[in-house]
């Protein structure tokens, strides 16, 4: 069964690029432009992985993650942060907050896919 991936980013072009790359690889992709849309999709769909931008309008990535953690049904969903390489200095905060990985912007299709594969491999191996 194909995995469902939710991508939350306020940039339309990034959403489109990620969608294209992931869809080509056989993932089902759901796009959200902000946290609200993301939550709405999470209510109706079973999502296997969330790719989350940190800099979002109104509710930012960190706040969104806290919202996830407070809901029993959603808190098991792995989250990978999409972030600038400089912001990798925030990775410790990110990982503490419950993100499983971070993916540095700018990223190529190969980098993105490799990270996602790694995450699913890790999750399956650990039976999460």
């Amino acid at each position: 069964m194909n995995k469902n991936i939710l991508v939350i980013d306020d940039e339309e072009d990034i959403l489109e690029f990620v969608e294209r790359v992931l869809r080509d690889e056989g993932y089902n992709v759901f796009k959200a432009k902000d946290a609200k849309q993301g939550l709405a999709i999470l209510q109706s769909e079973k999502i296997d992985l969330i790719l989350l931008d940190i800099m979002l309008p109104e509710i930012d990535g960190w706040q969104f993650m806290q919202m996830l953690k407070s809901e029993e049904r959603l808190k098991k969903i792995p989250v990978a942060m999409l972030t600038a390489r400089v912001d990798a200095y925030d990775k410790i905060i990110g990982l503490k907050e419950g993100a499983v990985d971070y993916i540095c912007k700018p990223f190529t299709a190969d980098q993105l896919l490799k990270r996602i594969n790694d995450i699913f491999y890790y999750i399956e191996k650990n039976n999460l």
């Binding site: 990034i14 790359v21 800099m55 400089v86 912007k105 190529t108 299709a109 190969d110």
Partner: protein, 489 residues
């Protein structure tokens, strides 16, 4: 030797007071001498006027016939003046007829009956007074008898010893007075200088406090003289300094605000540039890999160029973002153990095309592999140093890379060194190249590319590790070093 102003002041006042008192003493002494002298001379004149006729008459009348009567008259006269030493009666040839002093001593016939006194001999015929002798006043009075004949002169000798006696009294008195004045002048000098230096001490204490940063210091001296003026001028100065400091502080705050603004602006810009870059790099890469259909060679080549330029843009934006972030938030480190040899190898792999182009030979001397530091940070530093080394190398040269442990002041350091052969760096710029946006000259940026942030970032990271980064350049060989304390887990 340093002499306090107070001591100098005491000295000066003391000398002034002493000079005044000494002057007064000398004046008094001289005045007294004049006074005593004129008293002696006056008395002598009066005595001479009163006695010369009487003595002359007695000499003519009794000297040869009734000497005792003559002597009685002489002695009677002698009692009238205490300064009188001698009375002589000398004839006009200079022969001494009578000498009271000799006679009273019992010498009746002198060996030489002629006077030897040049003054007497010269002036025996005149009425003359000689006061030039040192301790002795001599008055010659011609005696004219009742027939108007002048055969004898009476010569009076008066002692002037009273003057020196008087002088010694005066000197003694002034010494006694001088001593007490000396004491008094010391006391006065100390009091006066204390008063002056006391005010000075207040000012100097205040100046010290101001120098230590207490600019609210105000001094109060209410003397109505120059010291009050000094205090007022001093307070005016501190007030001015306070104002200037306030202005400076405002200026600094304003500058800091603007600097933060500027850095924030940089950070925002780089963040904004990141999204288009991500999308561009992503799609170009995707296209290049023919995921959207096959490409011909021309298209591949063009995409390669776009890709390379995007990568370059990406690097510079990353640097800008890093610098602005370090400036705004400082460098955050997360320590871990990693293999620096792998890191160096990975970076070198990225530069294979450039190195091939210049036919560079890399000579590695890796004596230490494992490092405990911020991996991301050290990686950035290595990237910058290695890419600089390659960029500034002349073709067909060696690029040397070395890691080792050094010991300095009982502290172990991990040290990295990279040296290349190329244009070199002028001595006076070895420090400046670590400043943000610095390049040795404006043309280098055009020739070698880059906006000059790499070394500044590297310094930030190394200094955050409590380490040091520096460069040496001699004869076209440029070495970059960094060392960080060799921490153990």
């Amino acid at each position: 030797m340093k002499m306090p102003f107070r001591t100098k002041l005491i000295g000066a006042l003391f000398i002034i007071i002493l000079t005044v008192f000494t002057g007064m003493g000398i004046y008094m002494t001289l005045y007294r001498i004049k006074e005593v002298r004129s008293e002696i001379v006056g008395n002598a004149r009066m005595f001479v006027t009163l006695t010369s006729d009487k003595i002359g008459d007695a000499f003519l009348r009794y000297f040869k016939t009734a000497f005792f009567k003559f002597r009685a008259i002489i002695l009677e006269q002698r009692g009238l003046n205490t300064d009188l030493e001698n009375i002589q009666i000398i004839d006009l040839t200079g022969r001494i007829q009578y000498d009271m002093a000799q006679y009273e001593k019992g010498i009746f016939f002198a060996e030489n009956p002629y006077s030897t006194d040049p003054f007497v001999l010269q002036n025996i015929k005149k009425m003359e007074m000689n006061i030039n002798a040192d301790d002795h006043l001599c008055i010659i009075v011609p005696y004219v008898d009742e027939y108007g004949v002048h055969n004898y002169s009476i010569v009076y000798h008066f002692s002037l010893k009273r003057i020196s006696k008087e002088v010694s009294n005066v000197v003694k008195g002034s010494i006694a007075m001088g001593l007490s004045m000396l004491l008094l002048s010391v006391v006065l000098a100390v009091i006066a200088s204390n008063r002056i230096t006391g005010h000075l001490a207040v000012v100097s204490k205040a100046a010290k406090e101001i120098a230590e940063g207490d600019f609210n210091k105000v001094i109060t001296i209410k003397t109505g003289d120059e010291f009050e003026d000094l205090a007022n001028a001093f307070n005016y100065m501190t007030e001015k300094i306070r104002e200037d400091i306030r202005e400076l502080n405002n200026l600094i705050k304003e500058l800091e605000r603007r600097d933060t603004q500027k850095t924030q602006f940089l950070a925002n810009i780089s963040h904004e540039l990141r999204t288009p870059l991500t999308v561009s790099i992503g799609y170009v890469d995707y296209l290049k890999k023919e995921k959207m259909g096959p490409l011909n060679e021309d298209q591949k080549h063009s995409l390669e160029i776009i890709s390379r330029n995007l990568e370059r843009l990406n690097k510079e934006i990353h640097s800008l973002l890093l610098v602005s972030r370090f400036t705004l938030e400082g460098v955050k480190l997360s320590y871990e153990i990693f293999d620096i040899s792998d890191a160096i190898e990975n970076i070198l792999n990225n530069f294979v095309p450039e190195m091939k182009l210049k036919r560079l030979v890399v000579k590695k001397d890796i004596r230490v592999r494992l490092v405990y530091a911020d991996k991301e940070g050290i990686n950035t530093v290595l990237e910058n140093l290695i890419s600089n080394g390659i960029k500034f190398s002349e073709p067909d040269t060696n690029l040397e890379i070395k890691t080792c442990i050094i010991n300095e002041n009982n502290q172990e350091y991990f040290q990295f060194k990279i040296s290349n052969h190329g244009i070199g760096i002028p001595e006076d710029q070895l420090e400046k190249i670590f400043e943000p946006f610095y390049q040795v000259d404006a043309t280098t940026s055009r020739r070698y590319g880059g906006i000059g942030l790499g070394l500044s970032i590297a310094r930030n990271i190394i200094e955050a590790h409590q380490g040091k980064i520096w460069a040496e350049s001699r004869g076209g060989v440029t070495c970059f070093y960094f060392k960080i304390p060799n921490r153990r887990v």
